[in-house]
């Protein structure tokens, strides 16, 4: 029988790794100890060696992030049959990539949470577990068949049982836990980190290291409100929103101040040729940022259509990886929560994010008189490595001017 190649645990606490590339092709002979593939973990990239000799019969996971203990390939005798992988395989090659977020990609997180991996079982359905793991599972009433083994050859070891006990709702979405009734006072509720949550944590921690500055400006939204009302009258099916107008004027301002539509790299600052505007959306599984591409070339109704579809998919947890990629600037709007103003954390590698507060009536001076106007406050956060204060301020000025007089954005 072909031998499974298991994603190894290279260090304590390692949960998953990203296969960068295979150093052997399917059908190629492999010696024991020969490098098989390159594995990227949160610590290192290293070559993983074959534990047995034979022919690399099948590569089950060509690339991407894989949990420790999962089968990624099979080695055996030439022409030997390869057992079917449990379905749905968490990251089978044909599945729409649930890749490790590429630092060059604009997505804050993956589109889909990985399905709970099927338990490892050998051909006869017997679960492979250490005696200690069996005893612990027996004592704690845990079904071994629901666990995934991270020991050698996918064996369930004591650590796996302990982890399962720590997270009894293994695999269930964290949000469901909220429906299980009140938590007894005095007990800490433990919400296991989902992959989405882990990605959010990792990306935002990276972002926090970037030197940023914030600029703030307010705009009179009278004309935007009029414009939105007119458009809704004319085209009630589309339902253009203030966010769509913000997207449009932001895209125009980005194209006018291309130094803000930028990305900092160690070698050069990349100025993007179009404005792909990301919208921060509070989806059930966490924050996601789907992207409206080339927003500067789209009409308001086109933007509204794309936006409605993306937000709808985000709320249903059905975004695809490419919905989240390629953003060049992000808009984060908390106006619906009556937040007056706030600062957003940068969404790398983008150089700018615009935080939008609530549009609220404020008393403002208009031509020497006091007037009540619907005002909004925008706070831009900028990557100071890529953009200096003056061009960023000019961008923000263009943005507010265009909001006050949307015709300027045409």
């Amino acid at each position: 029988m072909a031998t499974e190649v298991i994603l190894p645990r290279l260090g304590q606490g390692m949960e998953s790794g990203t296969i960068v590339r295979w150093l052997k092709a399917e059908g190629e002979p492999v010696e024991k100890g020969e490098p098989l593939f390159e594995l990227d973990t949160d610590k290192v990239t290293q070559e993983v060696e074959a534990e047995t000799a034979g022919v690399l019969l099948k590569i089950a996971v060509a690339e991407g992030e894989v949990p420790v203990g999962q089968t990624v390939a099979f080695i055996g005798a030439e022409g030997e049959d390869v057992p079917d992988l449990p379905s749905p395989a968490p990251a089978a090659p044909a599945a729409p990539a649930a890749p490790a977020p590429d630092p060059a990609s604009n997505s804050l997180l993956q589109a889909e949470e990985e399905p709970t991996p099927a338990p490892e079982a050998s051909g006869n359905g017997r679960v492979k577990a250490s005696p200690l793991a069996r005893r612990l599972a027996r004592e704690r009433g845990i079904d071994l068949a629901t666990l995934r083994g991270t020991g050698p050859e996918g064996r369930i070891v004591a650590e796996d049982v302990e982890r399962a006990e720590a997270a009894p709702a293994a695999g269930a979405p964290a949000s469901n836990r909220l429906l299980q009734g009140p938590v007894p006072a005095g007990e800490i509720e433990r919400v296991p980190l989902s992959n989405v949550r882990k990605t959010i944590a990792r990306r935002l921690t990276e972002a926090w290291r970037i030197p940023v500055f914030q600029l703030q400006a307010s705009a009179d939204m009278t004309r935007v409100n009029e414009l939105v009302a007119r458009l809704r009258e004319r085209d009630p099916d589309v339902r253009v929103t203030v966010t769509d107008v913000l997207t449009k004027v932001c895209a125009q301002a980005l194209m006018r101040h291309r130094e803000v539509n930028a990305e900092f790299t160690e070698e050069a600052i990349l100025l993007h040729p179009s404005a792909n505007v990301g919208l921060a959306v509070a989806a059930p599984q966490g924050l996601v940022v789907p992207v409206i591409r080339s927003a500067e070339r789209l009409s308001l109704t086109e933007i509204a259509g794309v936006r409605a579809e993306l937000v709808g998919r985000a709320r249903e947890n059905k975004l695809r990886a490419d919905d989240l990629e390629g953003g060049t600037c992000t808009i984060s709007n908390l106006g619906m929560f009556a937040v007056e103003r706030f600062t957003a954390v940068l969404n790398p590698p983008q150089a700018a994010i615009v935080a939008v507060g609530a549009t609220e009536d404020r008393v403002v001076p208009v031509r020497g008189e006091t007037a009540v106007r619907p005002m909004v406050t925008l706070t831009g956060t900028f990557d100071h490595r890529a953009v200096d204060g003056a061009p960023a301020a000019a961008f923000l000025q263009t943005l507010t001017e265009s909001l006050e007089d949307p015709g300027l954005a045409l």
Binding site: L10, S130, P131, L132, R135, G151
Partner: protein
């Protein structure tokens, strides 16, 4: 505390016993003027004379038989078998006579004899002068078997072996003779059948004998750097075996490696692994790893010899396999 080499510690136990007890004497090939092939009995002829430091003909069977006879008559002889490879020549007397007489006489006769012998690779002695045959004798009911790894242990255990009323096969390791270690001022007998925990740890227990105790301690230091906490236990007496200490250690760490220089196949470690799997089955979180020599006669060539016998890195690799990293 005074410091003695392993060699001096053996000599100290022999000399001290002979000074205070006329029943104790030593015999063996070239042990008198020459002081033994390993120099262990050097100087003892001058102190104790030819009657008590007896050179024998080159016949292991004869000298073993003579020692057994003396023991049956009430003496406490310590016979040196120059290389444990030559225990094969003494085996008839040791296995069929010494081990059986107490039982077959219905307890009327005791055989308080010690067969001291040494072996072990690491100095290119080739296939016939460095084997580790301790498992052969652990297999025989009626014998006690000791394998000491430090100066303190070898002295205290040899003392207990001399004063045990049963035949004891006492293994020393050739490469350990020069190592030094602190010993108590006065000899403190170490009871047979009691293991020594050299180092406490949490993640895996390495049960090692002889030279591999030292290799295992090195491996444990190395593993520590990677955050793997290793307990190292030396059973010291292979028969009777301190199962309680070994089993309780493994119940604590949930993983075990057994390590000795002898070949793995049918080695002492196989017995230990069996004891552990039976008594600690529900505590094991990984298969028990065995470290030992490859199944081959020892080559003369140093690089090939080093390839055949295990070292610290082999123990470390086994440790890593049990913890899966």
């Amino acid at each position: 505390m005074p410091e003695l080499s392993y060699r001096e510690a053996v000599r100290d136990a022999l000399s001290t016993a002979m000074r205070q007890d006329e029943d104790v004497f030593i015999m063996g090939e070239d042990i008198a003027e020459m002081g033994g092939s390993m120099g262990v009995t050097h100087g003892m002829l001058e102190e104790f004379g030819k009657e008590r430091v007896r050179n024998t003909p080159i016949s292991e069977m004869a000298l073993a038989g003579a020692a057994i006879g003396a023991a049956m008559q009430g003496m406490r002889p310590v016979a040196e078998i120059m290389y444990e490879d030559f225990m094969t020549l003494a085996a008839e007397q040791v296995v069929n006579q010494a081990a059986k007489i107490r039982y077959m006489s219905g307890g009327q006769l005791a055989v308080p004899v010690v067969f001291r012998t040494q072996g072990g690779a690491g100095w290119s002695p080739g296939a016939q002068h460095a084997q580790q045959l301790e498992a052969w004798f652990v297999h025989v009911p009626g014998l006690k078997v000791v394998f000491a790894s430090t100066p303190e242990d070898v002295r205290g255990l040899l003392w207990s072996a001399i004063y045990d009323d049963n035949p004891v096969v006492f293994f020393e390791h050739r490469t350990l003779y020069p190592i030094k270690g602190e010993v108590p001022q006065e000899i403190e007998p170490i009871p047979l059948g009691r293991a020594r925990v050299h180092r406490e740890g949490e993640d895996v227990t390495v049960i090692a004998t002889g030279r591999l105790v030292h290799e295992s301690l090195k491996a444990a230091d190395e593993a520590e750097r990677d955050g793997i906490s290793v307990e190292v236990v030396d059973p010291r007496t292979l028969q009777p075996l301190d199962e309680e200490t070994l089993v309780s250690s493994v119940k604590k760490t949930n993983r075990a490696v057994v390590a000795h220089e002898a070949v793995t196949r049918m080695g002492f470690g196989a017995e230990v692994a069996s004891v552990l799997q039976y008594q600690a089955f529900d505590w094991l979180d990984a298969p028990i790893e065995r470290v030992g020599a490859k199944f081959a006669p020892l080559p003369f060539a140093p690089v090939m010899e080093a390839f055949v016998v295990p070292h610290a890195e082999d123990v470390l690799a086994a440790i890593r396999r049990t913890v899966g990293k």
